[in-house]
Amino acid sequence: MEIKGSVVLVTGGGNGIGEAVVKHFAKRGAKVAIVDMVQKNIDRVVKDVKEMGGEAIGIQANVTSEADTARYIQATLAAFGKLNIAVSCAGIIRDGTLLSLDKETGKVSKKLGFDKWQAVIDTNLSGTFLCMRDAAEAMVNGGWEGLLVPISSVNKAGQVGQINYSSAKVADALMPKIIIGEFLMRGIRNIRCVAIAPGYTATPMLTQMNQEALKTILEDVHLGRLVAPEEIASMIGYCAENEALNATTIEITGGLCYPKGIAK
């Protein structure tokens, strides 16, 4: 697929990986729809795209809402007349272990709140599902060439303290196999699906964390630094251009290893 002239929709496009994806495609002549919860982030990214001389719209929306999903797809079509690439970057974390024990009694003192579970599943899994479903609907009905990009995570392997996040991200990583299998079954040939599973990436979430803890994490990364959001965006751009990439999940981790060796 040629990026120039294509229409790209990015949820969570107001910062982090989503912002980098927006700018990567805008720089190369794509028209971009920026979906985010935070209006001031949307405004900033739209302004940046304007300064590049690009085409963009910003839509404040909650990705967990079916009505909002329909609205941001509709707005994209109203602005640009088609949709080619949908990247589901919107994500949150609400970390915690399943159970916490009282150090003295050994009994359960706290359990992971259902609200923490549900919020992460809603945003990171249901939000991705809604985006992929409604974007695919628009692409099929419009007959446009399309690419669906769920954003998974290297923590799909199962990260301690992230039962909610890892559960959502392993499900996101499965989507390309299922979606493309179903598309083949239904005779839908104009849409591909490739998930991206980033490793530790220099997003606001990570760069603002405890720097000592971050240093420990980086000891297990062969690259010796965090992955840049632009490097993730660049891979998504490559996925758009290389139509042989399909029905798979690509990890970009900089060589994340278990402590003292063996790549994860």
Partner: protein, 105 residues
């Protein structure tokens, strides 16, 4: 340069790049760009109505909420899924976890 007052916000459509920019002033006075470089090649007479249509989609005045339709005969294969009878006297709307709120019930 078309301007519209809609949903307590003031929108302006003006040339930007090869197309049109839609900027707006929120009720609090903050200004921002809702879209940039849109509808390239369209004259003002056509870009204005297109922009207004887009503004109405991006900034809805309200969202119509429908359902749940508890009487709808949802079926999955041979299984009939019957929605909760929210009018039943024993119906409890449970939105708390057991740790945070056992006593109120």
């Amino acid at each position: 340069m078309p301007t519209y007052t809609y949903n307590d916000m003031q929108f302006t459509v003006e040339p930007g790049g090869a197309g049109w920019d839609i900027s707006y002033r929120a009720p609090g006075g903050a200004c921002a760009i809702a879209g940039t470089g849109l509808f390239p090649g369209l004259p003002e007479s056509e870009a204005g109505p297109r922009a207004l249509e887009l503004i109405r989609t991006v900034f809805p005045v309200g969202i119509r909420s429908v359902g749940p339709d508890v009487l709808h005969p949802n079926t999955i294969g041979d299984l009939k899924i019957v929605g909760p009878d929210v009018a039943h006297p024993n119906f409890i709307y449970w939105n708390k976890d057991s740790v945070s709120c056992p006593v109120d019930l």
